[in-house]
């Protein structure tokens, strides 16, 4: 009898012990994972590669997304990494391709970068179009867009899309359809290529 009791007690200890270790290890692993991911989601991480720092990061600094009246600015991940967890993970997995190309040195000189710029731009435009410019809309919201404060020309062009949103329809166009090359230089021959890829009217 005492043997059985001991066994039961042992089993109880084992279950409790493994649960406790499981929880602790889980917290450490999950926390570490999230911490690492948050670390790769900073601008400092992006520009730790000279490919980013010397090209696209410099170009961003000429634009309104870097400096403006109110001092609000967009960092690399604001536009290039989705905010929601699932989409973020998918993007991060796809980004392993970028790590491969970093190791291969696909764009490690300004000339190589220029040669590859159109390909990279098209792929990013495609991503934006496919997600209905989700990352733009993290900040830019039609519901908060005051057309009276815009230039008449801009207001005229935004107007139909605002109404589509008001009426609960999917907007017939998405931000990236018109707003290309707003944060980085446009590649050579972008217009023809974008038209060919169905990204431009």
């Amino acid at each position: 009898m005492t043997q059985i009791k001991d066994r039961k007690r042992m089993a109880g200890f084992f279950i409790k012990g493994s649960l406790l270790t499981g929880i602790i290890v889980g917290i450490i692993l999950w926390g570490g994972f999230n911490w690492t991911m948050a670390l790769t989601n900073t601008e400092q991480f992006c520009i730790s590669c000279h490919e980013m720092e010397d090209n696209v990061y410099k170009e961003l600094q000429e634009t309104v997304h870097w400096s403006n009246r109110t001092g609000v600015r967009a960092t690399c991940p604001d536009c290039h990494v989705p905010k929601e967890w699932v989409h973020k993970i998918i993007r991060k997995i796809k980004a392993s391709n970028e790590v491969y190309h970093k190791i291969m040195g696909t764009i490690d000189t300004p000339e190589k970068f220029e040669n590859y710029r159109l390909t990279m731009a098209i792929s990013e435009w495609k991503r934006m179009k496919a997600t209905d410019s989700r990352e733009c809309r993290n900040c830019h919201n039609f519901a908060s867009m005051n057309l009276e404060k815009q230039e008449p020309r801009s207001a005229e062009r935004h107007d139909p899309h605002v109404w589509e949103v008001v009426d609960g329809k999917t907007p017939s166009k998405t931000c990236i359809d018109c707003h290309k090359g707003i944060a980085h230089h446009l590649p050579k021959g972008w217009e023809e290529a974008a038209k060919k890829a169905g990204l431009q009217d």
Partner: protein, 189 residues
């Protein structure tokens, strides 16, 4: 009984210190030096009043004739005025570019039209010309923008081209945005 004593000691110390501080900043100036200083001030004033005029007439290249004993302290004006050599040049005063709906009237028949909007975001580089996003043959109707004239699609021998002629590529060589800025030189046109 001790407190007033302390206060008087501190007070006395402060009083003692006061003339010392002043003494440090006092500089004895000889009559010779005064003369040189005067001429230096005059040349600085001169440079200030002519600052708005074109470069050639400003900064009278006045090498202040300093007495040799204070040669070290005197600054010498160059074409850049009294700006330190190792400092960056003064930034150009920024003016907001005009936005005028309906365009700007021409002053004479063959004048290249002025740009009635800001071109701050536009870039004309080897890679591309963002003006042509709106003003090209293909896009001007959609964008409701004036089209670049026929002449811009011809070589100098009159041969027609599909794309903008390279000699017309740099739009801002002839077309300029407008701002409320004082003319750099007098214009009697």
């Amino acid at each position: 009984m001790k407190k007033p004593l302390l206060i008087t000691i501190v007070g006395a110390l402060m009083l003692l210190q006061a003339p010392l501080v002043i003494g440090e900043e006092t500089v004895t100036i000889s009559v010779k030096d005064l003369k040189a200083l005067k001429s230096l001030c005059a040349s600085i004033d001169g440079a200030k009043t002519t600052a708005a005029a074109p470069i050639s007439s400003s900064a009278p290249a006045a090498v202040v004739s300093a007495s040799p004993d204070i040669g070290k302290a005197v600054k010498v004006a160059s074409l850049r005025g009294f700006h330190e050599l190792d400092k960056d040049a003064k930034p150009v005063e920024k003016k907001k570019q005009f936005k005028i709906s309906g365009g700007i009237e021409k002053n004479w028949t063959l004048q290249p039209p002025s740009i009635p909007h800001s071109i701050e975001k536009d870039r004309i580089t080897l890679k591309g010309n963002t003006c042509m996003k709106c003003h090209s043959k293909a896009n001007h109707e959609k964008e409701k923008a004036p089209q670049a004239a026929e002449s811009h699609y011809k070589t100098r021998d009159g041969k027609k081209l599909e794309k903008l002629s390279p000699r017309r590529y740099f739009c801002v060589q002839c077309h300029t945005p407008q701002a409320d800025a004082k003319p750099l030189v007098e214009n009697i046109f």
